[in-house]
Amino acid sequence: MDIQHVNVKLMVQNPEDADLEPLIPVFHRWIQDQECEELLLDVADYRHVPAGPGVVLIGHEANYSVDNADNRLGVRYNRKALLDGNLQDRLEQAVRAAIGACQRLEDDSTLNGSIRFNRREMEMFINDRLLAPNSNRTREALEPEIRALCQRLFGGAEYFLGHGESDPRKLFSVSISTEKAFKPNELLENLLV
């Protein structure tokens, strides 16, 4: 399977206190400065929709958002354009991009630390039902690759891989959590090893 379109979502700490409005100027600034590797285009505001995509930074190759799908608030990286390399490379690219976005948001002085990540949970989705239907077969095929990535990402530390929702209509997903809070910098460094 030539799996593409990896999504990674890192969960926000204290989601009930998070205010998404200040994200709008932040994302506009990212566009002004073209902060990311992708060509950044526009900001879509869906705060009015319950459990929706929240505030989305639309890019050509990928979208970044602070998304509240399933009432789980998190920073999401949604890869749209195709990537070269093997699946391990694609998983890694999406994880890096999502962590990078979290770091930028946490470091943004205009947000006054209002968005922080809980550093224990992430979700991974494949946004293509034909290549990766939400089935056991996809799980069996992808799990070794995801585990290999987690092994590197967490530097051999313990992590838990949970199955996402079983509804076959939903995107294939897994949840990844750690006992110990991870440091974004360390994770990125681990991936270099």
Binding site: V49, I58, A81, L131
Partner: protein
Amino acid sequence: MKASNAFWAEQLAGQIPEGLAREIEIFETELRLRRQGKIEERVFAETRLRRGAYGQRYDSGQRHDGKKVQKLLYPSGSLTKGPNTLWDAPGMQRIKIPGGGLNARQLETLAELAEEYSDGIAHVTTRQDVQLHYVHIDDTPSLMRRLAAAEITTREACGNSVRNVTACPFAGVCQDETFDVTPYSRALSKFLLGHPDCQNFGRKFKPSFSGCSEHACGLANMHDLGLVAVERTVDGVKKRGFQMYVGGGLGTVPYQAKLFDSFVPVEELLPLAQAIARVFAQYGEKKNRNRARIKFLVNDLGIEKFRELVLEERKNLPPDPRWTEYVQTAEGFREEPLSAGGTIPAGDSEDFRQWIRTNIRPQRQEGYATVTVALPLGDITAQQLRDLADIVRKYTNETVRTAVEQNFVIRWVSCADLSEIYRDLKAAGLSTAGAGTIVDVTTCPGTDTCKLGISSSRGLAAELRKRLAEQSFNLDAAVENLHIKVSGCFNSCGQHHVADLGFYGVSRKMAGYAVPHFQVVLGGEWEHNAGSYGLPMMAIPSKNIPEVVTRLTNRYLAARKKGESFRDFIKRIGKAEVKNLLEDLTRPPAEQSDRGFFRDWNDPREYSLGDMGVGECAGEVVSSVDFGLAAAERQVFEAQLALEAGDYHRAWQMGYQSMLQAAKSLVAAELPGISDDPEQIVQEFRTRFYETQKFFDPFAGGKFAHYLFAAHRNVEAPRHPEKARFLIEEAQLFIEASHSCYYRMGTPVTV
């Protein structure tokens, strides 16, 4: 863009009707040819439009990011999918939903597509379509195949074609309808889809069905072809038919449809529609897009002549067995309940009772009700679509429709199930009360995604919705039942003309800056199938619009007579009084350090018109053009007062004068000594602004200049009310275009 694009054709082989599969294959080939430069971009643009694949804001490859105009350097470089439309730029995919009818599987398909090709949101439009935004053109064939496998087509969702055939979402279950129009809307939709007689229109053609003439649901009066169900007894036998209206439409200048026939028997529906299509294709304007809708043809010919041409065409039509076959097949349409009827529960919470009051409508079939799912700004998430699919399966035989108020209507819900369905909707975030009330603000996409947007209609609608929802428990019934509709520009996609309180986006210069504004349009009528259109009152800065709503509704509550509608109230107090009430809101705040006032809703960028850059602060110096345009605004207002007073001659004259004044102001910037002679003004305006295209709107071209030229030519023509109203609308648009032109002229000439 999607890795799976290469595999969907094979995956869905046998699941797509042959004709549709072939069409999508052809479209895919056209995409390939365009990539190789073997199809001209204009031709390709119309090709994709006829398949519902629209352009989107910033697709020219540049965007003002608040500081500067940024070039968007896409990987496909300068390859285009239409004039000035880059290949890689995200687009909008419109999906036709005839009569708004959907089943659970189709809802699930829309959910998948929203998630995989768009940004996770499906948007219900004011014409019962569904739109997905930020879609890459390369993904559209796969998207269309997946829709086709679910029996949905995007064919002729845009372009110069027969658009979605809309119908009242309560058809078949409404207490007031004459009969269920659903089968007939389906038959017409099927018959006209891809019909050879509908392939050569100069513009789009929008049909609509309504079950009765009193209520709004079908909005027959504002459609190119409006059909209202009526019955007639012939030789003691009740016969079904339609009042047929033609030539209605909103757009820049709204036209009320004309009655073509007070009774068209159902068996004549298809052939007569075909004859109308032929006359439109044959006689309708082709070169000038701005006069190509059927409303201009009907208006220019007069309804009698138009009718004569159609009836002549009808006589010559070769008989087509589908005329009866489609209608008879469609008449077999039945909707049945899933479970036995019941009674509406009293409810144990205030939220539930409020929802019952505003979102539930008892059906004509005892024991059943419709449930309106109110969508904020017409938006629904992929997960909510799946939840909705589960809900319509659980409680009904999958009977759900989209509504022109950008909601879903679930039909045939047993009243005994209302408590339970409320719980399920609540869990899905779909139980918002206030459907069809003032809280349920309708809006077009505006500057969020539309290339023509001037002000943020969605931003304003979201703000109004939020503020009104906070007060929803305390709203007086007279205010609660008002309608607010917002469009991002004069094109009326948000249907602002038929709202009690309508707004459309314009811009004005203040202190040297462009500032987003909305024209306040009052006195429209939603009921009686969009019975009458409101008139623009004055332009107010966007950030002051919530205060406009507060003042107008408070004044209405305080001063209305018993039983007086908002429309009648506005008529009674008059435009001058409304202007007094709102005048101070036209001005910027004294403290201008608050830059938020100069920005649009939910958009922190410095506001700019298109990518024309930031206005330089010219301090408090007011230019002669500013003064001239303000005078033109005053004159058009006086024209409205004259119209209100029934003085059509003066109304027409003042409207004309206001255009002359605006034109003169622009000319004076280049030719300071210009006289008051209309001939000289028009001549100079033509040479300096029209022929040089300086006055041209980026999208409407020279359309607004023609309003002045036509009025100048017809200065001696006899006046009647409708002509005076049209002229005032045109004058208003001419003045708006003059403001935009002045903005484009750069640093103002100062006095």
